[in-house]
Symmetry: C2
Subunit: 417 residues, 2 copies
C-alpha cells in the first residue's frame, strides 16, 4: 500500500467517524473521555513497558537527556494524562452553542451553530502525553483526529492509542475517531500534509523546525505559531514601578515560552525608567542589548544589531530600543513582530486603547505581562497550541477554537421569489 492509499484508508475511517461523532450528545463525548482516562489507568503497565522500549532505543541512539526526559513516562505522568482527559470532560460542551439566531421578514429562521471542523491532523514530537491530550481535545470538540507522533516515542504512542481505542469502544464511539499513522516513514508526514481530501486542518505541536516544515508543505489549513517575537512599549505615561515589574515578568518568568517578551521599546520620554529597569533585569540575570542611545545611557547594555530586532531569543536576553512615540513603536512592531503577543504599558487609557486597536497581533496587552498568552490563563482550560495566523482561530487554541459553524435555515415551505 503506498502512502496515498494509506492516507485514504485512514481518511475514509475518519470521515465515517465524523458522521457518528456528529450524532453524539456532549454527555456521550464526555463519557467517552472518562472511559479513555480509565483505560489509560488500567493499561499503565503496558504503557510503561512500551515506554521502556522507546527509552532503551533512545539511549542506545544517544538521544540528549532533555529529550529523554520528555520521552519518559512514569506512574505520575500516566496519572496526569488520565486526569487531563477527565479535566477536558469537565469543560463546557463547545458544540452546544448557538452563535447567532435571527428571523428574516419572510419567516425564515437562521441560526449560526457551532459544529466540529471535521478531521484534524496533529503532528508532534517526543512527548507521548500529546497522544492523549490531542485525542481528548479533538473528541471533546466532535472532531476525528489522525495523529502522527515522533518516531522515538512510537511504542509509547501505540500503547496509549490502544488504551484510547478501548475507551472509545467501551463508550460506543467509532474507533475511527482517533487514529494514528501506522508507519514511521518520514514521507508519510508529506502525504498527510497534502491530503486535503481527508484532512480539514493540521496542528503541528513542536519546535520551530517542525512548524516551519508543516507551514511550508501543507495544502490544508494549518493552525500554529512559528515565532513569538513579542514586544512591549513603555509609554511616557507609564507608572515606572509597574513598567519594571511587568517587563521583568514578561521576559524572565520563563524566558523559553512563546509568550516571553523579546524586544522592549522605550519611549524617548520614558527614558528616566532606564536605570532602575536595567538594575532589575541584570539582577535577574538577563543579558541586555540596546540601540546606540540606550548603550550610551547605560554601559551594562551591549550594542544590538539589526538581527536582534528580528530574533526570538527564547532565552534570558532582551533587545531594547528607543522610539519616538506610539507611531514609531507600531511601525517597529509591524516590521519585526510575528503577530503573537504585543502590548503597551501606559497610564493614559486613550493612548493605550488606540495603540491596541492598531496592533495587528493576535493578542494585544495593556499593562500586563505578555506571559499571560496562554489558554489556561485565558480560562480556556486545555489548549492544543497558540495560533498567529489571521483567520479562524488566533491566540490560544482550546476546544472552542477546534469548532467551526454551520448555518441552519428553518422554513415552513418558503420559496425564493
Amino acid at each position: 500500500m503506498n502512502l496515498n492509499e494509506l492516507m485514504a484508508e485512514l481518511g475514509v475511517g475518519a470521515r465515517r467517524a465524523t458522521r457518528s461523532l456528529a450524532a453524539l450528545k456532549g454527555g456521550q463525548r464526555d463519557a467517552a473521555l472518562r472511559h479513555c482516562a480509565g483505560a489509560i489507568r488500567y493499561h499503565q503497565a503496558a504503557i510503561l513497558d512500551a515506554n521502556r522500549q522507546d527509552l532503551e532505543a533512545a539511549r542506545a541512539g544517544g538521544l540528549a537527556s532533555a529529550m529523554l526526559d520528555r520521552l519518559e513516562l512514569n506512574p505520575e505522568r500516566i496519572s496526569s494524562m488520565a486526569e487531563g482527559l477527565e479535566a477536558i470532560a469537565e469543560l463546557p460542551d463547545p458544540l452546544a452553542r448557538v452563535l447567532a439566531d435571527w428571523t428574516r421578514p419572510n419567516g425564515l429562521r437562521i441560526q449560526r451553530v457551532a459544529v466540529p471542523i471535521g478531521v484534524i491532523g496533529v503532528i508532534y514530537e517526543s512527548r507521548p502525553n500529546v497522544t492523549a491530550d490531542a485525542a481528548g481535545l479533538c473528541l471533546k470538540s466532535g472532531n476525528a483526529v489522525i495523529l502522527r507522533g515522533g518516531s522515538e516515542a512510537v511504542h509509547s504512542n501505540r500503547a496509549i492509542l490502544a488504551a484510547l481505542g478501548e475507551g472509545l469502544e467501551a463508550a460506543g464511539v467509532d474507533r475511527g475517531a482517533v487514529q494514528m499513522l501506522p508507519t514511521q516513514d518520514r514521507e508519510a508526514v508529506g502525504a498527510m500534509l497534502k491530503a486535503h481530501q481527508w484532512l480539514d486542518m493540521v496542528v503541528p505541536r513542536g519546535g520551530k523546525r517542525l512548524v516551519a516544515r508543516v507551514q511550508a508543505d501543507a495544502r490544508v489549513p494549518v493552525l500554529a505559531h512559528l515565532d513569538g517575537n513579542n514586544h512591549l512599549y513603555i509609554h511616557p505615561s507609564a507608572d515606572p514601578e509597574m513598567a519594571i515589574a511587568v517587563v521583568a515578568n514578561a521576559k524572565m518568568r520563563r524566558p523559553g515560552i512563546c509568550g516571553a517578551l523579546e524586544t522592549l521599546l522605550i519611549d524617548r520620554d520614558a527614558l528616566p525608567v532606564l536605570p532602575a529597569l536595567v538594575d532589575r533585569l541584570t539582577e535577574l540575570g538577563c543579558e541586555l542589548r540596546g540601540d546606540e542611545m540606550l548603550c550610551g545611557l547605560d554601559d551594562r547594555l551591549q550594542p544590538a544589531t539589526e538581527a536582534d530586532w528580528a530574533t526570538e531569543y527564547l532565552d534570558a536576553i532582551l533587545a531594547m530600543k528607543t522610539v519616538d512615540g506610539p507611531e514609531d513603536a507600531l511601525a517597529h512592531i509591524a516590521r519585526y513582530g510575528s503577530g503573537h503577543t504585543d502590548g503597551i504599558i501606559a497610564a493614559d487609557e486613550a493612548v493605550a486603547e488606540a495603540f491596541l486597536a492598531r496592533l495587528g497581533s493576535a493578542i494585544a496587552v495593556h499593562n500586563a505581562s505578555t506571559q499571560f498568552a496562554d489558554g489556561g490563563e485565558f480560562g480556556f482550560g486545555a489548549e492544543i497550541g497558540i495560533a498567529t495566523g489571521r483567520l479562524h482561530a488566533r491566540g490560544p487554541v482550546g476546544v472552542e477554537q477546534l469548532t467551526t459553524f454551520q448555518y441552519r435555515v428553518f422554513g415552513t415551505g418558503q420559496t425564493r421569489p
Copy 2:
C-alpha cells in the same frame, strides 16, 4: 521590475494602508465610501469612454455576446455601482463588535474584538462593477485590497480605480487601501497567489476554472466555493405540496446559480409524491434523470449514471435518487455533496433537526428552497461570494465575514506567578 518586486511594492503600500485604516472610525470609512460613489458618478463619461475601448477590443477579438453583456457599462450600470457603494456605507460597522468580554480571577479583562483581516486579494473576470463592489466591501471592513480584474475589462477597471482613488483621497484615506495589479501579464496572478507575505486572503470571483486555479495554486487562504452540488431529501413525513413547491423553486427559479438544487433524494416511503412532482418539473421544462427505481415508476425520467450524482448542472436538469431513510441520504450527500447547501423536507421536527446536525454543509436547510443561499437573503447586505471551506467564513461572505478578531487584554500591572 519582476513580478515579485511588483507584488512587494503593492504589498508595502497595502500594509501601510492597513495601519491607517485601523485608525479610522466606522463613520470615516462610510464617508470614504460615499466620496467614492460621488467620484464614480462624477467620472461617468471617462468610465464610459474607457469601457468603449474595452468593448471595441472585445468585439474585434470575437468575444461571445454573453461576455460582451457582462463587460458593457452604461449610465444605469454606473449609477448602480455608485448606489452599491452607498448601500455598503449604510450597513452596520462590522468592526464595532466586541465578540466576547470576560474578567479573570486575577482582574485581567479580556475582550475578543472584531478587527480587519488585513490585505485581501480579489481576482475576478469580466464584470467591471466588481472593481467597485470588492473595493467597497473591503474598505467597509477596514481591509486593504489588491484587485486583479479580467484583461478584457482593463480600461474600464482602471477608470473605475482612478475614480475610487480620488474618492479615497477626498476622504483622507491612504490610496494604498485600494490598488490594482498594473499588469495584464498572466503570470502576475501566480505571483499574487504565492505572496503570503503581502496577502492575508484571496477571494476569487468568477467561473469554476478561475476558482479551481486559485484553489490549486494559492499559498494564502482562499475564501470561495468551487461547486454547489446541492441536495434536498424528501422525508416520508414531508407535506407533498410543500415538497413539490420547494423542489420546483430550488431547481427552476434560476437553475444557473450556485444555490440551485442539483440532486433530489426521495425516501422510498415518500414515493407517492413522485407523479405530481414530475408533472410540475416537466411543466417547468426541467429534464429529469433518475435511478432504476424512479425510471421504472415514471417513464418521463431518463436513466442517471454515476456521473450525474457528482455533477453540478447549473442548468434545467435534475438528478433524482431513491434512498432508504435519512442515514442513506446523509451517506449519499457525504459522498457526492460539495458542502455548499443541502437540506431536508420533513414535517417531523426531530428528524429534521437530527438531519441538519449531521450534514457537513455550510448551509443546512429545513423546509425551504436552497436558493436562499445568498447574502442578501440572509440579511447580510452585499456579499463578495459564498464559501464552502470548513474554516473562518462559511456560506455567504459579507462584510462581517471579511473581519477576524483580536484578543485585547487589559491589566492593572498583573504579572504571571
